[in-house]
């Protein structure tokens, strides 16, 4: 069983469109590759929009905790405020104190959005007036899609711990793949290079970087290639919307050549990709003969060889 992660650095280069096409091509290929799908972009999960999954299970995701101060116990000493490095403790307003609202007028409060969940204040409060309250940060789902099992998640807006949720979604996909004798796990990754990307890429056998031939796309491709190299995940690159700026595509190829990274295909700009998205289908299923679909087919063939999936099916 092999694990593929699809990354890009820059957002909006087409990771999810590529992942959806791979899900389709894997399931209906000759021979088929049996794949479990995982949407690891839990901030903005879009793979479900093109795979029309039937939900089988919904689970709560409790991420970190935030501090809560009991106003009855707080004596207003301000120790919590002194030790908090995240500016999350709000001192009582002087006006409230003057109005003389009993003990509660002295109480400090916590800004739950600023709170990092470190609990330093909990251990320093001399009145033991602070406790940690677990936060429902989102949900994760196991679904059946027309191309195989899909694990996905929805992080509630403005929540922390998306890296933890990514790890959870991926672990679940991996467990099912191992139990069910699947050939591969295909992970649709998040943008960036930080915590959720590191979580999505860890343990992958291969990363496919979807690069865009734009000034910003090339800059971010270099950063994500350095990131996967840092974690020793081998990478391939495909160039999406390659004909928008041919000089940029040539620059990507030169960079990859110089760094020993194989470029496995150029996908042309093709309105079919957006039309397919509007119809809720992968481009390769919606219009198999479109230029983008044919290019995606070739990229998948090369990636499947990289995963050594064909031999096992």
């Amino acid at each position: 069983m092999k694990q593929l992660v699809i990354l890009s650095g820059k957002g909006g280069t087409g990771k999810t469109s590529v992942a959806a096409a791979f899900a389709h091509l894997a399931a209906e290929g000759e021979p088929p590759v049996r794949a479990v799908l995982a949407d690891a972009d839990v901030d903005a999960a879009n793979l479900e929009l093109v795979l029309s999954p039937q939900p089988l299970e919904t689970h709560e995701f409790v991420g970190g905790s935030v501090a809560v101060i009991d106003p009855e116990l707080c004596q207003g000493c301000g120790r919590c405020c002194d030790v908090c490095r995240f500016d999350a403790v709000i001192p009582p307003s002087p006006d409230v104190g003057r109005r003389g609202q009993g003990g509660e007028g002295r109480a400090h409060t916590i800004d739950p959005i600023a709170c990092e969940g470190c609990a330093a204040c909990v251990y320093q409060c001399p009145e033991e007036a602070i406790h940690m309250a677990p936060q429902l940060a989102g949900h994760w789902f196991r679904s059946d899609s027309r191309y195989g099992p899909l694990f996905h998640a929805a992080l509630r807006p403005a929540q922390e711990n998306s890296g933890k949720l990514v790890t959870l979604v991926k672990q679940q996909a991996r467990l099912l793949a191992l139990d069910g004798g699947y050939d591969a796990v295909i992970v649709d990754g998040p943008p960036g290079i930080g915590c959720p990307v590191i979580s999505a890429a860890s343990g992958a056998d291969l990363a496919l970087i979807v690069a865009e031939p734009t000034a910003a796309g090339i800059h971010d491709m270099e950063r994500v290639l350095a990131t996967v190299a840092h974690f020793r995940v081998p990478a391939l690159v495909c160039i999406n919307k390659a004909d928008i700026y041919p000089a940029g595509a040539a620059e990507i190829e030169a960079y990859c050549h110089a760094h020993g990274v194989e470029v496995v295909g150029r996908i042309p700009f093709d309105p079919t990709v957006t039309e397919a998205m509007v119809h809720g289908e992968p481009a390769t299923a919606y219009r198999p003969d479109a230029p983008a679909s044919r290019a995606l087919g070739k990229v998948w063939q090369r990636v499947a060889i990289g995963l050594e999936c064909h031999a096992t099916s």
Partner: protein, 300 residues
């Protein structure tokens, strides 16, 4: 006035909008004295790109560091109190040794405070850098860059805002923040304290799905928001219907045009490709000011 340009979905054109808004304000209105340029903060520390369009000359640089614990083995009794209070499993006791995992550490200092032997001191661990200097049209530009392999973007964004907003003396003037994609902690850190959230989207099912989430962030943080529809004409009408139903004003539409896509790919700004956008962005800014003022009056 702090305007944060955000999106939920990546690649919708945040940097395109943020850079052209900054340039338009720096150019000022015809027949008017040129106003002081707005400050620009690139808060997308995982994939900072605005420098490619605004060509800053970096004159100041500072490390982004978090304070990580350092255990004095001579004083440590391996009592395990530090490991007990650490919420991130960044410090563990194995036998007689206390180990620190710097990449898990959030730099909260809790272990230092609880160590009964006073065996823990702290040392800075660099996770990235802050850079600042003048960009085109005198725009004070600052950015944060997260080091490759470092997981935590949030401290870099927090320190960038503290460093740049105070240093540029930007009090009272305009600050434009280019926000990372997504809806979780780095986004919240970047938009906290903003007076207005400018949401850039594209009229597709992916754009709509992620705009909904970004709009929820705006509500959660109590920041007024408006929408720019980029690549107008591709996709479907879902985004328009959502904005109408949610009461989100659509402030600008940028059509899908190959000339724009090619120009941006080459590192040109929208106001350079189509100069008529300068006055559109100035009008958009006036609308934002109007919306913020009327809301602050309504709020008392």
């Amino acid at each position: 006035m702090k305007i944060a340009v955000a999106s939920g979905k990546g690649g919708t054109g945040k940097t395109t909008v943020a850079t052209s808004l900054a340039l338009s304000l720096a150019m000022g209105e015809p027949d008017q004295p040129v106003p002081p340029p707005p400050a620009f903060l690139d808060c997308d520390v995982e994939g900072p790109n605005a420098h490619l369009f605004l060509a800053p000359i970096f004159e100041r640089r500072q490390d982004v560091a978090i304070q990580i614990p350092r255990v004095d083995a001579a004083k440590c009794t391996a009592c395990g109190r530090c490991a007990e209070v650490c919420q991130y499993h960044a410090i563990v006791v194995l036998g007689k040794r206390t180990l620190v995992f710097s990449q898990l550490c959030h730099g909260c200092g809790s272990c230092t405070l609880v160590c009964p032997e006073g065996a823990i001191s702290e040392e800075p661990h660099a996770i990235g850098a802050l850079e600042a200097g003048p960009a085109v049209r005198g725009i004070p530009f600052a950015r944060g860059v997260l080091n490759v392999g470092e997981p935590m973007a949030t401290p870099a964004i927090r320190q960038l805002k503290q460093w740049a907003i105070s240093a540029s003396g930007a009090q009272g003037s305009v600050v434009i923040l280019d926000v990372p994609p997504g809806t979780s902690c780095p986004v919240v850190e970047a938009v906290r304290g903003a007076d207005y959230l400018l949401l850039v989207t594209e009229p597709t099912p992916f754009g709509l799905h992620d705009l909904r989430l970004a709009a929820e962030v705006a509500v959660e943080l109590g920041i007024p928001a408006g929408v720019i529809i980029n690549r107008d004409g591709i996709g479907d009408a879902g985004v328009d219907a959502f904005c109408a139903a949610a009461g989100l004003p659509v402030l600008l539409r940028i059509p899908f045009e190959r000339a724009i896509a090619e120009g941006i790919a080459q590192g040109r700004t929208l106001v350079d490709i189509h100069p008529e956008y300068a006055s559109r962005f100035s009008t958009l800014y006036q609308q934002i000011v109007g919306q913020v003022i009327s809301l602050s009056r309504a709020g008392g």
